[in-house]
Amino acid sequence: MPGSGTHINGNYRVCTVWRVRLDLISSLLGFLVFLPFWIAPVHARVNGPCSNCHTMHYSQDNTILSEWDEGGPHQALLRTDCGGCHTGTNELGADTPFVMSAAPNYGENGTGMDTTTLAGGSFYWVTQPANGAVGGDATGHNVAGLTLADSTLNTPPGFDGGRAAADGSVPGAGIWPSGQQVTCAGIYGCHGTHAEAVQTNAIHGAHHGDLGGARISPGTAPAAGYRFLVGIEGYEDSNWEFHPTAEAHNQYKGVNNPGGSNTSTISSLCARCHGTYHSGTGNIGTASPWLRHPTDYDMGNTDTLSEYRNYGGTGNTYNPAVPLASETVTTVKRSVTFSNDTIVTCISCHRAHGSKYYKAMRWNYAGSATGGLCGECHSSKD
């Protein structure tokens, strides 16, 4: 107890005071360190009163409540649309993942303990004017309803007619109309099936059936897929990677088959619209020298003394700032072994929603002479 030393000797008393204070500080630090694990809720399916999300008549006492989105009525009797629910500031323990907010804190790469973005990043910077390698159209997907259409890109770069999801649905049914904006879900969206034009139909049942945790063999139901992505496997972090660590992060699915046809990997999701960047012979290639940066390629294929084996530093600790996928996603990998757990994916470098950096890079690639965190894998080129 501070100040409770009974010895007259001043040195002893002071030491006792500091020892107790240090004990308290240590305890507090320990508490803070482990706090996230104690209070981290398992965010899965939505819960709470129906009226949190739905309104039966989009009317209350013949008026529209202020908490409802003015653009209604909305599909599925919702109070608002995707952006309406998923706009806000992320906090530890929050029960809704926000993908849009006012000026989020991204820090250097979106993984710092003071950041306010999640695994997918944020669309915020797409709405901001470009300033060098920061902000502007090129910092993320220009999603309808959240941002304006891209001023230069009329179709997804690398669109090759679309690739089928596990349920057989293909973005745009194989044709991407010029100027068509990407949507959150549906025919031109990422979440849910591409077979449904109505976004809520595309992700039908997902919010109520969300399970969280590991998604293995998800079939074709949106709810069963990792983050409502049809057929995609993965392990969902309970906080959607709010302040991720080596111990707490998403575990993405990958396979060691560059240019392959597996539809369960996170890179295969991107390939549905950016297929040219994921095809094998003549596009990526099948081995080094690669023609494009490979994805769905395990760095365990490299020489044991190669630069890639330095990923994560001593002990090859998983680095959530440069995530690698694994063939099995039943658990979170705290470190990597270069045995089908060091698989390069699209999102090893990019944020799916957006980042503050050019080309939605996780780190300031364009603004770095050395490529920034490219050196995490290309460790001899720092």
Binding site: G132, T276, N283, G285, P289, K359, G367, T370, K381, D382
Partner: protein, 450 residues
């Protein structure tokens, strides 16, 4: 007072730890690429055709991760993807020069015309000029050095031959690797053209040690040879290579002999030359008896040296390959430098002993000895009586000077081209050579002649 001291001490400790942690997390580590020529923040790669968002030195100036930028092909736009995600063809496989800019990815920027680097031109003078100070002529770009045309047989390091040899002999080198990377690691090679006397800024990596630079540490310079002496800087008898130092310092010259011999050593597999249509003579720069005397093997007899070697106070000189040869290309045969030991060669012909001028940069010919004309070598071969290698009855009627059938002028027999008897690995009599290299020594036995 005591209480305050303890608290101050604790605060200090905390501050020290905090500062240390802060330093550890905020310091900027300049790695190998960051200090390389291509990653140089002031002079590194900067392709003129890609968005300005990519700052100088960034990977995207050479590598297009998706074979495009923002869905389009920046210049040079080609319809195909390229190995190593480079923005254009890595190497076309062209068998012989002249090369075009499109033949080699490096040439896309390393040329004085139409370079894709901002500014449209990259000056890279040849070794004779950059390190030797020879500023005559217009030998300005790497591509241009591979494409010399002159009145005589030009020479160049054949890129297809390099690519094949490296792929066959060095594990890290792939069949599709760029031949330039056999000698240069583009992510490590440093920019030395503005500080040529600083070997730390070396641009080369040994083919046997691609991941490290060569020449940047004390054990990797010509100072490792006791009897190395840098040659004169161009047009000077008081300054030395590299860069015109006022004193000869072999610590400033990377050990090119070891470097080049990673491929050219007699211990390595043979090198086939497409241009020459034969295997190259492999080099023995060791001190072995069969080694070259220009290397570490012991000299024999009088060497008739010029300065700075004549008074260099060394007993058995060893040369750096680049004292005589260019690494990329030359208007002269066998990659011979345009200037050697401070003087230009001004060769106009590779016949009639024109290349003897290469020898007289360091060895005294009859004119310098006051006994004959420029590029005459009679005194050394015949003029010392019994001390001469060829004298007396050997000279009369031997027919050596008519071996090539050409007539001499002014009643003299035609000259014998130096390279008939003097070349890497040569000795006389040489059963494998052609007359007059097969001429027997008057005292019998054999004699190293290089």
């Amino acid at each position: 007072m005591v209480k305050l001291d303890v608290r101050v001490l604790m605060c200090l400790r905390i501050c020290i730890v905090a500062v240390a942690l802060l330093s550890a997390t905020t310091c900027v580590y300049a790695g190998a690429y960051a200090t390389s020529a291509h990653g140089d923040p002031d002079a590194g790669v900067l392709r003129s055709s890609i968005p300005e968002a990519y700052i100088r030195g960034n990977c995207a100036h050479c590598h297009e991760q998706h074979a495009s930028v923002g869905g389009v092909q920046p210049s040079p736009a080609n319809a195909t993807v390229s190995g190593f995600a480079l923005f254009s063809t890595n190497f076309s496989g062209r068998m012989v020069s002249p090369y075009t800019q499109e033949d080699n990815f490096c040439f896309q920027c390393h040329t004085v015309l139409s370079s894709h680097q901002v500014g449209g031109s990259i000056l890279n003078h040849d070794y004779a000029e950059t390190f030797g100070g020879y500023d005559e002529g217009t030998d300005e770009g790497i591509l241009e050095q591979f494409n010399h045309s002159s009145g005589m047989e030009n020479s160049y390091h054949n890129l297809r031959d390099i690519q094949k040899y490296a792929a066959d002999n060095f594990d890290w080198f792939k069949e599709d690797s760029n031949p330039c990377v056999a000698c240069h690691n583009p992510h490590r090679a440093r920019r030395n053209k503005n500080a040529v006397d600083n070997p730390v800024l070396t641009a080369i990596s040994r083919p046997t040690d691609h991941e490290n630079l060569w020449g940047d540490t004390p054990g990797e310079t010509m100072a490792g040879y006791r009897d190395y002496l840098p040659p004169y800087f161009y047009n000077s008898v008081t300054r030395y290579e590299p860069g015109g130092k006022t004193y000869p310092d072999s610590n400033l010259v990377p050990d090119y002999s070891t470097f080049c011999n990673d491929c050219h050593a007699v211990t390595m597999p043979l090198i086939y030359s497409t241009e020459l249509g034969r295997n190259l003579i492999m080099i023995d720069w060791s001190s072995a008896a069969e080694g070259d005397k220009h290397g570490q093997s012991a000299r024999t007899g009088e060497t008739w040296l010029r300065e700075p070697y004549a008074s260099g106070n060394k007993s058995n000189y060893v040369l750096s390959c680049l004292d005589c040869h260019e690494p990329h290309g030359s208007p002269y045969p066998f990659l011979v430098r345009r200037s050697i030991n401070g003087e230009p060669l001004h060769l106009t012909s590779d016949v009639n002993d024109g290349r003897g001028n290469q020898c007289r940069q360091c060895h005294k010919d009859d004119s310098l000895l006051g006994t004959g004309d420029v590029n005459d070598w009679k005194l050394q071969h015949h003029g010392q009586g019994q001390l001469s290698p060829y004298s007396g009855s050997q000279v009369s009627g031997c027919g050596c000077h008519y071996a090539e059938g050409s007539a001499g002028g002014g009643g003299r027999p035609p000259a014998i081209r130096c390279e008939i008897c003097h070349y890497h690995g040569s000795f006389v009599p040489n059963p494998a050579g052609e007359w007059p290299a097969t001429a027997p020594l008057k005292n019998g036995g054999t004699r190293k002649t290089f």
